[in-house]
Symmetry: C2
Subunit: 174 residues, 2 copies
């Protein structure tokens, strides 16, 4: 059985949505879904707010109750029948994210066992056939095929294998 | 540069020592180092205590301030010059262990970056040349060479590559 490793933020969990939500809370500035999907999120924030926004991810609540990226639940449930699925997230940089991320996966992907969850830093440590991720830097040294999941910040990044949404993941693997 | 993955409990962190400490606290029964090193720890505990002891690992304090296995700091510091070192621990089973384990590594092995720490369940996900571990079940599906680190519970387990202590790790790798 081939093995697919799947990143969390911006692949199954909408962390950008949380940034936008808290930005609206703090500065009363709201972005449309179109703005969020077509701009790097940091380009949307005013420069004078960047310092505070960079601290968001260190708050205990940041990673709680993130929205699920549309289609990911259904497609991963189907992939799970034909592939070994691992969630692999570079969570070590934000220790406050560890427990919320684990709880979030248990809530939204209860069919993926705790044995198949990996919190790491450098994804070259992952032994899998495919890695679906929104950051090409995570493909450096990865032993399998990196599959770039489109997010606003990687639209102009060159990579040979790209999927724009979970329907395209389904089409590629099933 | 070859890569060595290193387990935590009973390899660098003395979790059995914590079991013995809490057992003494709760039942006023103390074990000698000789008893601890020559018996499976569960064989030392009275049967009527097993139920309570199995709950120890779910306590928030269990993984805090564990003793460091003798020699591990010095040898890993030296290995670190010639190998890529990753700590890889099956921590997902005990969510309460995640933050204490991360803090413990930062305290005792500050020269190992957070990028090289992995919390996982199934170690077949680890891409490394060697895995130093006290459980042969973690070598199942592991892509590299499993190196069994002797602990009281694996003395009678058959495995082709075994090290009895950190001096033997040094001799094998340096």
């Amino acid at each position: 059985m081939k093995r697919i490793a799947i990143d969390m933020d911006e692949v199954v969990a909408d962390a950008h949505g949380r940034f936008a939500e808290w930005y609206k809370r703090d500065y009363a500035i709201e972005f449309t879904p179109e703005q969020l999907s077509s701009n790097k999120i940091e380009d949307l924030f005013l420069k004078e707010h960047h310092h505070r926004i960079r601290e968001y991810v260190f708050h205990d609540d940041f990673f709680k109750d993130l929205s699920v990226i549309p289609g990911s639940k259904e497609v991963i449930r189907d992939l799970h029948d034909k592939y070994e699925i691992f969630f692999t997230t570079a969570a070590m940089e934000f220790p406050n994210s560890l427990l919320p991320k684990l709880a979030w996966l248990g809530e939204h992907f209860p069919f993926i066992s705790w044995t198949n969850i990996v919190f790491c830093g450098d994804k070259s440590i992952i032994n899998a056939d495919y890695l679906i991720d929104d950051n090409v830097r995570n493909f450096k040294g990865f032993v399998g095929q990196g599959v770039l999941f489109t997010a606003s910040h990687n639209r102009n990044v060159e990579w040979d294998v790209r999927v724009n949404n979970w329907q395209e993941v389904r089409a590629m693997f099933l």
